[in-house]
Symmetry: C2
Subunit: 334 residues, 2 copies
């Protein structure tokens, strides 16, 4: 198992014979702990201590689930005799334990605990667990993760349309960025977005259309042309131009994926669409919505003084109350 990656999928049976899978916990934290054998003293204490804190974990939207090679009968007896209140799963062939890397060299269970986040990603592991103090330690970790997840998403928080970029971007990365865009939702799943990745010589066609204020973008190793047309999306009443809206959702996915990959992605409206459309052979009936320059961050020295200042200036946003109202339209309409 790799840390930071989605947890291995598993399908195990609980003490009642019900099938329990990883996806059962979607949207919740999962504390999955592997223990060697029902009814032994350490495993009993671990199960009882997790049971005692079950409500605390639940307040953080966390489920605690134990896994051992014991059969259903043994699990049933263990739960009843020790008054355990958490689900125990049977992994008789230790296949799931192996996937999680919870086996020792001899193939026995290594007492281990894994913390899986609400998106299904393994975020922390404890191996060679000593039962003393372990449940408190796990709880403290869930608490920190929960607090972080209730706060602003770090990619949303640090994403900025910066200008000091350069370096190289591989084809694999370009594909990954568009894959992220392509997972956006759209009206009736129409997927109206089209991305032209310009690199190398084809960048000239884009550069020719850039407005002066966007000259910095000439240093970008890739510039995406985002293209669509109204007919590629739902046709809705009352000015709802969904091809633009859905394309916006896709482009935001691209930007956050770029941020995760340590790249800058800067959408631009300042260009001459006629020039760029001609240069990239975009048909007349398609709209060139935006250009998105992507590259690695470089030192701000490459920018002119005015743009260096913008780059360093704090982010400006209207007050939240200017864009959020409760229950009825209640905004200043200036």
């Amino acid at each position: 198992m790799k840390l930071f990656h989605p947890a291995p999928k598993f399908e195990l049976t609980d003490s009642q014979g019900e099938l329990v899978t990883r996806d059962h916990f979607a949207g919740r934290y999962l504390v999955l702990y592997f223990y060697p054998k029902a009814n032994t003293s350490g495993c009993t204490r671990e199960g009882q201590e997790f049971t005692a804190r079950k409500k605390d974990f639940a307040k953080l939207h966390a489920d605690v689930v134990g896994v051992s090679p014991d059969g259903l009968n043994a699990l049933c007896k263990f739960i009843e005799s020790k008054d355990l209140g958490i689900p125990l799963l049977s992994d008789p062939h230790k296949g799931v334990a192996e996937q999680f890397g919870a086996l020792n060299e001899k193939g026995g269970i290594l007492r281990s605990t894994f913390l899986i986040d609400r998106a299904g990603v393994v975020r922390w592991q404890w191996k060679k667990v000593r039962v003393d103090g372990h449940v408190d330690e796990v709880y403290a970790m869930v608490e920190q993760l929960h607090a972080a997840d209730e706060a602003m998403n770090p990619l949303v928080a640090v994403r900025r349309s910066k200008r000091a970029l350069g370096g190289k971007v591989s084809r694999t990365t370009i594909k990954r960025l568009v894959q992220a865009a392509h997972l956006a939702p759209s009206c009736f799943n129409m997927q109206p977005w089209r991305f032209i990745a310009t690199t190398g010589a084809s960048l000239e066609a884009v550069h020719a259309g850039l407005k002066g204020g966007n000259a910095w973008a000439k240093a970008a190793p890739v510039i995406f042309a985002v293209v669509s047309r109204p007919e590629l999306d739902c046709q809705l009443s009352m000015d709802r131009e969904y091809w633009m809206f859905d394309s916006g959702m896709a482009v935001m996915g691209l930007q956050l994926q770029a941020t995760q990959m340590g790249l800058l992605a800067h959408p631009m409206a300042g260009f001459d669409p006629a020039v760029v459309k001609k240069g990239l052979a975009i048909p007349d009936d398609h709209v060139l919505i935006a250009l998105v320059a992507v590259g690695r961050p470089v030192d701000v020295d490459v920018l002119d003084a005015a743009q260096q200042k913008m780059e360093r200036a704090p982010r400006e946003r209207k007050a939240l109350g200017d864009v959020l109202a409760f229950d009825r339209f209640d905004f200043k309409t200036d």
Copy 2:
């Protein structure tokens, strides 16, 4: 310091007297290691072992930086005499070490290492480090994190417009969701999006306008009405309706923040805008772009059979080649 949260900001001086801050590493991984004292045997070995792997770390876009209470002179001598190739920072009052929790009970340095990701978030820590094997262990962790970050963002990957939702959503959460939306970029930073959060009694005004296929949304504790109008954004040539595009970017930020918080967020186009606009007192000259239902995931049993099937069906997307071309427009235009 809290794990999973943005790393404490720091400003320290390196052995050359240059100021080094957390933001210096934006877009790169940072391995920040605290060691007790220059020139002692353990610290020398740790510094030399990190130096030996410096290029390997660099390939993963990772910088390794050491921190100790030593003064600049001591650091200079340490680097020269031991042939170290990594920056060493001076934290004479141990203030940064304290912020990171790298002090022992007596106020001395606890040998510790922190792995900070490309967005500035602390993702792993090692405390009471033993030098033997440590650098390899850190490298393996950076490798796993890097591989995960090059793969699909987990929130983008698991976000789906699901229907089985319910539960409660607090005002704090509503604000957090709109804050995430509000950090989207927009043309000339115009921020054209407006969100009306309908909860409680005001939900009726929205329910009255929902199309039959969206009846499931009546179980949502909050439905956002996303509102804008063309004049709130840049006025651009050639059909570029930026108020729709920028609002789309904002709504995607909201959805990913919701996913991080364990919520479902489902944008809908299927409603009667005239009815909902009237119910929420939205002026005629504003467009009701979309409704976004938000709630906690519940069992799919609440849905009818057809919708249960949709909920369980795999996600469908066009092939990547249908939405990504290189260097020129090269799509099927059907």
